[in-house]
């Protein structure tokens, strides 16, 4: 029988882990919805808090692990079955999108208090260094094998990242070469969306005070 490649071992591992991953997703989403109830029941008409959840699919998980292998971005065939998908931080994930910015801050404060032991790895604006998206990684009570990721994002930034991720970060032959070239444009969008949020917040505060 031909030697198995690291990818073959990882595909097998994925389907062993999948039931646990699904339990983690369900567990985390339920907890997040519960903890955010004090906010979500009092939203004004124009305010939004959207909670979504999911698990990485098999090939995406393997690809993420492959890209984490330093500059070469390939698995070392000599290491065979020593790679593991449990090294990934986000096999299971829950995302909270909030609008306006004040709701994003409140949602983060509530959830950070509950998940205080989780590792904080925020996504920062490359230019201003301000936090674009709060990200926390940790384990749910249902398993100590699968690390989960909780993202809390302003809605405008989160929806932009959705498009950016699917168009630029996932392999797409027609966009080959686009990623580094798009960096300046991506940074400009972050700045514009943050400016929009900040100005809206200022206007709302001004209106509320008159």
């Amino acid at each position: 029988m031909a030697d198995r490649k690291p990818e073959d071992w990882l595909r097998e591992e994925y389907f062993v882990l999948l039931p646990q991953v699904r339990r983690v997703v369900q567990n985390l989403e339920t907890r997040v919805r519960h903890e955010l109830l004090p906010l979500t029941v009092h939203l004004k008409n124009f305010e939004r808090i959207v909670i979504t959840s999911g698990s990485k699919d098999c090939e995406s998980a393997i690809d993420t692990l492959r890209r984490a292998q330093g500059e070469s971005k390939v698995f070392d065939p000599n290491r065979g079955g020593t790679y593991t998908l449990t090294d990934l931080r986000d096999l299971a994930g829950v995302r909270v999108l909030a609008f306006p910015r004040t709701r994003w801050i409140e949602a983060n404060d509530l959830l950070r208090a509950v998940f205080s032991s989780w590792e904080s790895r925020p996504m920062q604006d490359p230019l201003s260094k301000s936090i674009l998206v709060h990200k926390y990684n940790g384990y749910c009570s249902s398993t100590d094998q699968i690390r989960a990721e909780l993202q809390i994002s302003p809605m405008l930034i989160g929806q932009f990242l959705d498009i950016e991720h699917s168009a630029i970060y996932k392999p797409s032959p027609e966009l080959e070469g686009a990623k580094p070239m798009m960096r300046d444009h991506t940074n400009a969008v972050f700045s514009a969306l943050q400016a929009f949020d900040a100005e809206l917040e200022r206007l709302m505060q001004e209106r509320n005070s008159t």
């Binding site: 890209r67 330093g70 500059e71 070469s72 971005k73 390939v74 698995f75 070392d76 065939p77 000599n78 392999p171 797409s172 032959p173 966009l175 080959e176 070469g177 686009a178 990623k179 580094p180 070239m181 960096r183 300046d184």
Partner: protein, 81 residues
């Protein structure tokens, strides 16, 4: 020098970004530049790396910050062809 300017130098030298592998490749020169190497290099180092002659047919020159191990190198060569 910005990353964009470095990428323009590479593209002018015939390198193309491979999205899946996430590095710059020139199949004629048989040379590969990692994004990390490009980011960490000043213009002089980048131009010097571009100026070195490519390897003979069947081999590739990897311009990485850390040279790949022999087995990783073999894997990369088999992928690149």
């Amino acid at each position: 020098m910005t990353m964009k300017e470095k990428m323009q130098i590479l593209e002018a030298a015939g390198y193309r970004y491979n999205f899946k592998r996430e590095f710059y490749i020139n199949r004629v020169e048989r040379k590969v530049f990692s994004v990390e190497f490009i980011e960490d290099s000043k213009e002089e180092r980048l131009r010097a790396a571009l100026a070195t002659p490519g390897p003979s047919a069947g081999d590739w020159d990897f311009k990485f910050n850390t040279a790949p191990s022999p087995s990783v190198r073999r894997e990369l060569v088999s992928i690149l062809g």
